[in-house]
């Protein structure tokens, strides 16, 4: 299904009324641009939506809709709301749940559903409040610690913070009755995203593996397509292998900043193992460069040096 009817949302390229942290001033065409949204039922009340690159979920309730995240820009936030309205006409988005703090996933609640209740992990909300981005609304309800159960408008689910993974206060949503797990900007089909921006590589794999102690067989990522338990495991294995490859690249005297050489080294040494993965050509060299920095500099900041937590959830 594809939401592309012209009467389903604002006109194309409407002016940007919320500008995140842009400092350019004036209209920023991409912020207001309308995007087609596809939406698919997953299981039970769970639907997934995407504009092609970004993905999230929403839940049908008895009186309205629980939506995770706000997509990427004011324009996509409005398109997301319109897509929800197309699936469930006259059912307002009464609750938004932030997966994590980043603006490209949760930056524009003001454009999507400005009156909704907003739930976030405390670590996410601290950054949101400190950032003061134009269009990103602070949470109205926060939770601390690792797990919290929710029952909202007929939907039962659990929000889980497994430890530092990506961004701040990044939580998984676990739907035990549907055996579905949703988590953003962690496991993604193919190689890792660009240079692993704001990934906390020291604790990452261990924290993610904790989610395997839960009973689920469908995994909905924050980008691209829906996968399964094996896809989730394969992605984490890629990180482990990239960790080994990065150490060897350092021993081989590769300069992580020499883009031409990093690309050449990646193609020569990693294409055999990973060349078939989605976006290998675009991102694998950046993945390698970032992982090399991990070993050269140490983890980054408090989250990036968090000791690995392996206790099952």
């Amino acid at each position: 299904m594809n939401d592309h009817s012209e009467d389903s949302g604002p006109a194309q390229d409407t002016p940007c009324e919320h500008c995140g942290i842009f400092t350019l001033g004036g209209d920023i065409p991409i912020q207001g641009a309308w995007r087609d949204i596809t939406y698919v039922p997953v299981r039970d009340n769970i639907w997934s939506v995407s504009e092609g690159i970004y993905r999230t979920v929403f839940l049908k309730g008895r009186k309205g809709v629980v939506a995770f995240d706000t997509l990427t820009t004011p324009g996509t936030a409005r398109a997301y709301a319109a897509a929800v309205g197309r699936v469930y006409p006259n059912n307002p988005i009464h609750t938004i749940i932030y997966s994590h703090d980043h603006l490209d996933h949760t930056g524009y609640a003001a454009d999507m559903a400005p009156d909704a209740n907003i739930i976030a992990h405390d670590l996410c909300d601290k950054v949101v409040r400190a950032r003061r981005a134009d269009g990103q609304l602070p949470a109205t309800e926060v939770f601390e610690g690792e797990r919290k159960s929710y029952s909202i408008d007929g939907n039962d689910f659990e929000l889980i913070y497994p430890g530092p993974t990506h961004g701040d206060g990044n939580i998984a949503a676990y739907f035990p009755d549907s055996k579905v797990l949703f988590m953003v900007d962690t496991v993604i089909p193919g190689v890792g995203y660009t240079f692993f921006p704001d990934w906390h590589l020291t604790p990452y794999v261990a924290a993610m593996k904790r989610l395997l102690s839960l009973d689920w067989d469908v995994f909905i990522p924050g980008h691209f397509w829906i996968t399964d338990r094996q896809g989730f495991i394969d992605s984490l294995d890629f990180y482990d292998r990239m960790s080994d490859a990065a150490q060897q690249a350092i021993f081989d005297d590769l300069d992580p900043h020499d883009w031409a050489e990093v690309t050449k080294y990646t193609n020569q040494n990693l294409a055999g193992e990973f060349g078939q993965l989605f976006r290998f050509e675009e991102y694998c060299a950046m993945n390698l460069s970032r992982y090399m920095q991990q070993y050269l500099t140490g983890g980054w900041g408090i989250e990036g040096n968090w000791q690995q937590e392996t206790t099952p959830l």
Partner: protein, 304 residues
């Protein structure tokens, strides 16, 4: 085989890399101060009345040993009693165990917190932690100022102002060229603002944490460069450039900035990497509390 400090490496074939001792290049800056480089990274050491004060340790046990030998050959009859960590990263401050195992280690409180969390093999935990933005230091007859204006690069990054030498030392912040790569662990939000704040001080010589010694004029040019990339990266995003594609960012930003900054060594090779990193700042928001509009107060809360 002796016990080897391996940092955070887990591979069992790290020994040759870690033990290799690079050739160290030393330049005398003043009667009491020298700068030393392994060809890429750079730091400073000073002769006190009775001992040596050294910044950082370099990034492997081998490099730390080479640093110690070079210092001891330059200043004979005195030992390294004080090491100051510019910031937490292992490639600069990871191997005090090998460089000066008995020295006092001075660092910013946030740097110390990260070092304790990291538990890296060879990186000693600071013995003296500094809180706040400005510290007038007097160590063994040496006087200088340590400055932490706020998050710039890494955690708890301290710059040093030497009024007598008319010199500023700031590690892994402004470089004398464009070789920033993917700007690892830079905190973009206030970076240039904090860097320009150093221009309120009186200094002419700038010692960066990498590459060659430079001066105030080139430091300003470096600030201008980063600021210009910030602006053009935003414009690339605003104008629908596919920001996740390196070649697209490279082409767009290089064309916009080549005339003004093409003189910087490494511009052509690095501008795509720098722009790709910076545009993600605007796409995602800054990363964590360090990269928010007023991070200083928030960081103090975190430490508490």
């Amino acid at each position: 085989m002796s016990e080897l400090n391996t940092g955070i490496f887990t591979a069992d074939n790290a020994r040759e890399y870690l033990e290799r001792e690079p050739e160290m290049l030393i330049d005398r800056v003043s009667e009491r101060m020298w700068t030393i480089s392994d060809g890429v990274r750079r730091t400073l050491f000073l002769e006190g009345n009775n001992s040596i004060v050294a910044f950082d340790t370099f990034g492997t046990p081998g490099a730390a040993h080479a640093y110690r030998k070079a210092v001891e050959a330059t200043i004979t009859g005195k030992s390294i009693a004080t090491v100051i960590y510019t910031h937490d990263h292992l490639d600069h401050a990871g191997f005090a165990d090998d460089f000066a195992p008995d020295a006092e280690i001075i660092a910013d409180e946030m740097c110390a917190k990260v070092v304790r969390l990291r538990q890296s093999r060879g990186q000693r935990v600071p013995t003296r932690e500094l809180s706040g933005t400005r510290h007038e230091m007097e160590i063994d007859g040496l006087q200088f100022t340590l400055l932490n204006p706020g998050p710039t690069h890494g955690t708890g990054n301290l710059s040093a102002h030497f009024a007598e030498e008319n010199l500023l030392f700031s590690s892994d912040t402004i470089l004398p060229n464009a070789r920033y790569g993917l700007m690892p662990d830079y905190h973009i939000w206030n970076f240039v603002k904090y860097m320009r704040g150093f221009l309120d001080l009186d200094w002419h010589t700038f010692v960066p944490g990498r590459y060659e010694v430079t001066n105030r004029e080139r430091f300003v040019h470096g600030c201008d460069f980063i600021e210009a990339v910030q602006e053009e990266s935003q414009r690339a995003f605003a104008e629908f450039v596919p920001i996740w594609v390196m070649d697209a960012m490279q082409g767009y930003v290089a064309a916009k900035l080549g005339d003004r900054f093409g003189d910087l060594d490494g511009f052509a090779e690095h501008i795509g990497l720098i722009a790709t990193r910076i545009v993600h700042h605007y796409l995602m928001g800054g990363w964590s509390l360090e990269d928010t509009p007023e991070p200083g107060v928030l960081l103090a809360d975190e430490v508490a």
